[in-house]
């Protein structure tokens, strides 16, 4: 009686084995499939029985595709370019692929089933590296030298602009003020902007170092906001409004005469660094158009002949400042 379970389990196993064998014979055979491999500038063809995975077929025909997970789609090393007959890319492969790779038909060879004729391309660099290591053509002295397009390329040394000691104390004073405060990068940049009139690069490096913030995030802020400029600016910023109503009322004429008078283009500084000329799309004073603004002061109903008067006023102010 004790042998009945043994008999039963053997019977079940037998039935299942027969069933699976029949299914294997009927379902999995795809006939003979031709695989064409382009590798190192030459193409080779061989025929295999369909139904297997591309990785194992390639390995058994002498192509060493790197793989550390042996076909479980978890290492992502066995990439080849399938040019014809590989079918759709599977969700299991997608996590290993960049957008570019997906578009160019790169597949994990362990996930591609050989069901029909397949054309593949194996990238050369793998065998190149293997050849270098195998033939000892690798020279450790040449470690950092890469020859590109027949010319030796080199990375230019970074030019660091020294920070003026006077500027350094000014920056440190601003930074000390914000010590220990969260989210203070924008206020700090604003203060630097009002102190220096622009954001000098060495000052930003100093800020990055003191705040332990990467330069990239400072650069991101500095280039995003219109109020910040990485180029030097004059002491007074003249903005000519080119909004719809100001333009209609002669904004372009004002801008032209302003350019003539100052001798600079839009966005430029005068030689004495007293003025910077800019345009603005609207400053919300359409009722007084045409309008220009100098620093925070707004001059409405502006006419080209008023330019001299305004410029003179600010030149006088600067003169007084420098004398006192």
């Amino acid at each position: 009686m004790i042998f009945v379970p043994v008999l039963v389990i053997n019977l079940i196993l037998l039935v299942i084995t027969i069933l699976l064998s029949i299914a294997d014979r009927l379902l999995v055979s795809y006939g003979e499939c031709k695989i064409t491999v382009y590798h190192e500038g030459e193409s080779k063809e061989f025929s295999v029985d369909g139904g297997g995975f591309l990785l194992s077929e390639l390995t058994s025909h002498g192509y060493n595709i790197p793989s550390s997970c042996a076909g479980k789609a978890s290492c992502g090393f066995c990439k080849v370019q399938v040019q014809k007959g590989g079918g759709q890319i599977l969700p299991t492969e997608e996590i290993f692929m960049s957008r570019e790779e997906k578009l160019s038909g790169i597949r994990l060879s362990c996930q591609v089933k050989v069901k029909n004729d397949i054309d593949i391309f194996i990238p050369d660099f793998l065998t190149t590296v293997r050849g270098i290591v195998k033939n000892k053509t690798y020279d450790p002295k040449l470690r950092w030298r890469f020859i590109k397009d027949g010319q030796e390329s080199f990375v230019p040394e970074k030019r660091l602009i020294k920070l003026d000691p006077r500027d350094e104390t000014a920056v440190d004073a601003i930074l000390d003020e914000f010590e220990g405060m969260r989210g203070s990068l924008v206020p700090i940049l604003q203060r630097i902007n009002t102190t220096f009139n622009y954001l000098p690069e060495p000052v930003l490096w100093r800020t990055a170092k003191r705040l332990h913030v990467p330069m990239s995030s400072i650069y991101r802020l500095a280039t995003f906001y219109n109020a910040f400029s990485l180029e030097p600016k004059g002491k007074n910023i003249i903005k000519v409004c080119m909004g719809t109503s100001c333009y209609v009322k002669g904004g372009q004429r004002i801008l032209d005469s302003m350019q003539n008078k100052l001798g600079v283009e839009v966005g430029g500084n005068t030689e004495d660094m007293n003025f910077t000329l800019e345009t603005v799309s609207c400053i919300g004073c359409c009722g007084q158009s045409p309008v220009i603004s100098v620093n925070d002061n707004i001059y409405g109903y502006f006419k080209p002949k008023m330019i001299d008067e305004v410029l003179h006023e600010y030149c006088k102010k600067e003169l007084e400042k420098s004398q006192s």
């Binding site: 379970p5 039963v8 389990i9 079940i12 069933l19 699976l20 599977l90």
Partner: protein
């Protein structure tokens, strides 16, 4: 009929196979990164769980019980499940390549999934009839789907916020989410009474 509905609701909510019995945790953790893969996996689970329960019930009641070899039902179930999954995969690959690329690739992962075995074993322990077994198996799988979809959706939203601590990223945060969801599912406790 009412009994069947009770079993169905219980299998989804109060006796959720993932959140109450903590079964099928391996694919639960690894595939709940995105709702797309979670959905593919859960469709495969629904299919396989219902199918294997439907096959295992007659094998148990028509072969194992009459021959007095009840004690080997664990082994038999495992063999049957593995063979069924393999067979289904072969059939699907040959005749339904679209289905295969949608959720067929998850099938090999289910071969060793304890959810599938647990449903077959529970149907024996709870002495369900054939109809009840089907309802119970389908309900359990839908419950598993519900659980993994909830966790995957929360996980996707979390990715947008992106301030999960480094040590908790991946499996850690999924365990915590699953725990909280399981607590929430405890709230269904008194709703249906099933042994």
């Amino acid at each position: 009929m009412t009994h069947a509905i009770t079993i169905f609701i219980a299998a989804i909510l109060t006796h959720n196979i993932a959140l109450t019995y903590l079964l099928g945790m391996c694919p639960f953790v690894s595939l709940s990164r995105s709702t797309k893969t979670a959905f593919g996996m859960s469709v495969a689970v629904i299919f396989v769980v219902t199918l294997t329960a439907a096959i295992n019930w007659p094998i148990y009641h028509l072969i194992l019980v009459p021959t007095g070899s009840k004690l080997i039902y664990y082994i038999v179930f495992i063999i049957v499940i593995a063979a069924t999954v393999q067979l289904v995969e072969m059939i699907m690959e040959r005749f339904f390549p679209h289905l295969q690329s949608a959720f067929g690739i998850f099938l090999p992962l289910i071969t060793v999934n304890c959810t599938v075995l647990a449903v077959s074993v529970l149907m024996v322990l709870r002495t369900y009839s054939y109809g009840m077994t089907l309802v119970f198996a389908f309900g359990s799988a839908v419950g598993w789907m519900l659980a993994i979809m909830i966790v995957a959706a929360i996980n996707e939203k979390l990715k947008l916020v992106g301030n999960v601590p480094k040590g908790l990223q991946g499996a850690g945060i999924i365990m915590i989410i699953a725990g909280i969801i399981a607590l929430a599912f405890l709230g269904f406790g008194g709703m249906v009474d099933v042994k």
